[in-house]
């Protein structure tokens, strides 16, 4: 028995009109992922839970903070989560103890028991692609990108953290991002240099 899978935007529209059922579906769809991003940034399950809960509570209270005109919902939600978690790290002056994600190569499955299996399958394939692209990078390039994104560090801070010249860090970020663009098939529409 297959039921149509509501899109994120349909669920969001429901939440805007106070549909509790839509919020439950949306929560179950994204809770693990939101929590996982917070764990990745904070490295602390209690703090990550606080951040993840806060993200969802705010979403229910103010669903208009997401503007569909400006992009898809999931990247927005995960970016909000990452930013809140990074703010939390900064406010606590925490230093993360692990900086490279450990999960490499683990094939993401269709989580048949989870709600929304069809949606999970789509997500799993997206996650696989991103993980593959990241793990294919030279470790120092991946490290620079992950320290920036998940560690919330500026290039200058990364250079200090790694005792590496700033120029080297900038190069690693640029080369790594260039490879990710290719691997993820993301290209700028215009290549004209002004």
């Amino acid at each position: 028995v297959t039921e149509p899978v509501p899109s994120d935007d349909e669920l969001l529209a429901g939440i805007v009109s106070g549909d509790e059922g839509a919020f439950r579906v949306l929560y179950d769809r994204f809770a693990d992922l939101v929590y996982s991003v917070a764990v990745r940034v904070l490295g602390d399950s209690a703090a990550a839970q606080d951040v993840a809960q806060d993200v969802f509570v705010r979403l229910w209270r103010n669903p208009g903070s997401y503007d569909p005109e400006r992009g898809r919902f999931m990247p927005w939600l995960l970016s909000v989560t990452r930013n809140r978690a990074v703010d939390e790290v900064r406010s606590r002056g925490r230093r993360r103890t692990h900086e490279l994600a450990p999960a490499e190569g683990a094939d993401d499955p269709v989580d048949v028991g989870a709600p929304d299996p069809a949606w999970q399958a789509v997500l799993a394939s997206e996650r696989r692609a991103v993980r593959r692209a990241l793990t294919a990078l030279p470790p120092e390039q991946r490290q620079a990108i992950e320290l920036a994104y998940f560690g919330g560090l500026t290039q200058q801070e990364i250079a200090e953290r790694l005792s590496t010249p700033l120029g080297t860090v900038k190069t690693r970020v640029r080369l790594g991002m260039k490879k990710l663009r290719i691997a993820l098939d993301v290209e700028a529409e215009s290549t004209t240099v002004g």
Binding site: Y35, A101, P102, D107, D108, A114, P115, M177
Partner: protein, 288 residues
């Protein structure tokens, strides 16, 4: 900032890795330059996918209840409460090895007094979101409750759990700060499934697997553990005739704040053979 300088900084801007003053200059340029805007969008399209790379960690017990309590909405009537009803009937559980044939299921939780404890553990698990496992446990408990309702005679006294490892698993799951994670099938054995349950406070980890394929006599399943550059052996994993297996081991050398990869591999018993990964997953420890 000119176009060339912007393009040097576009990736860092998208990553949020520019110092505030640099970021301000870059944004000023961006607002006025359509060509650079396209370049920045490409960088942003990469960055927005980075969070998808994180190891998937199940939400902890209590988070769902916490969110719904905070917004004053009932957490019920949602998918999480439905797996027991919607789980495919007759399908073996994914995470919980199925040793006993269905007809002898009442032996699983034979003692009446055990029920509330298991129900409590199941509630914790339900919140933790291990839906398949929960649906199986809930199904078993529901069945047993029905049997008790129809047959007031107390069930035959028998071991409450199928195995020590499952007993440990339920105890670990019912205690706070447990980290649980799914073991995902690798291509060679796509139907296999499993779970890892780690309690950092108790320094115990339980691995449960199901639907492992039978092995040649000169092969065995082994648990391999790794964190960063460190690798070690977690011992053998012996599957029963249904392909179910379980093992538990001490994690007293595991450190907080570290992510551990747990793999189950098919390996020749003889030295020097090649390991085939069958299941793999990660557990991420809290930092404190």
């Amino acid at each position: 900032m000119n176009c060339e300088e912007f393009r040097e900084s576009a990736d860092a801007l998208a990553l949020g890795a520019l110092a505030p003053e640099e970021a301000r200059q870059a944004r000023n340029h961006l607002a006025a330059c359509a060509a650079c805007a396209a370049d920045y969008e490409a960088a942003s399209a990469v960055v927005e996918r980075l969070p998808l790379s994180v190891p998937l960690v199940r939400t902890p017990a209590g988070m769902r209840a916490g969110v719904f309590a905070a917004i004053g909405v009932s957490p019920d009537a949602a998918a999480r409460s439905e797996p027991a009803a919607t789980a495919r009937p007759g399908q073996p559980p994914v995470a919980l090895p199925q040793r006993a044939p269905r007809t002898s299921r009442k032996r699983l939780f034979g003692a009446r007094l055990v029920l509330p404890a298991i129900a409590a553990a199941v509630a914790v698990v339900a919140i933790a979101g291990m839906a398949l496992w929960v649906s199986d446990l809930q199904g078993r408990i529901h069945k047993l409750e029905q049997q008790q309702a129809h047959n007031p005679a107390p069930p035959v006294a028998s071991p409450a759990y199928e195995s020590q490892a499952q007993h440990d698993a339920i105890l670990l799951l019912s205690s706070p700060n447990t980290v649980s994670s799914r073991l995902w099938a690798r291509p060679g054995n796509p139907s296999a499934d499993g779970s890892i349950i780690w309690n950092p406070a108790k320094q115990r980890c339980v691995v449960l697997a199901s639907k492992l394929q039978p092995l040649d006599p000169d092969h065995e399943y082994r648990i391999l553990l790794s964190a960063g550059e460190n690798h070690w052996d977690g011992g053998t994993l012996t599957a029963d005739e249904n392909g179910a297996a379980e093992a538990d081991f001490s994690t007293d050398r595991w450190q907080l704040g570290v992510g551990y990869t747990v793999s189950i591999v098919d390996r020749p018993r003889a030295q020097g053979g090649t390991s085939q990964p069958v299941l793999e997953g990660t557990v991420q420890a809290p930092t404190q």
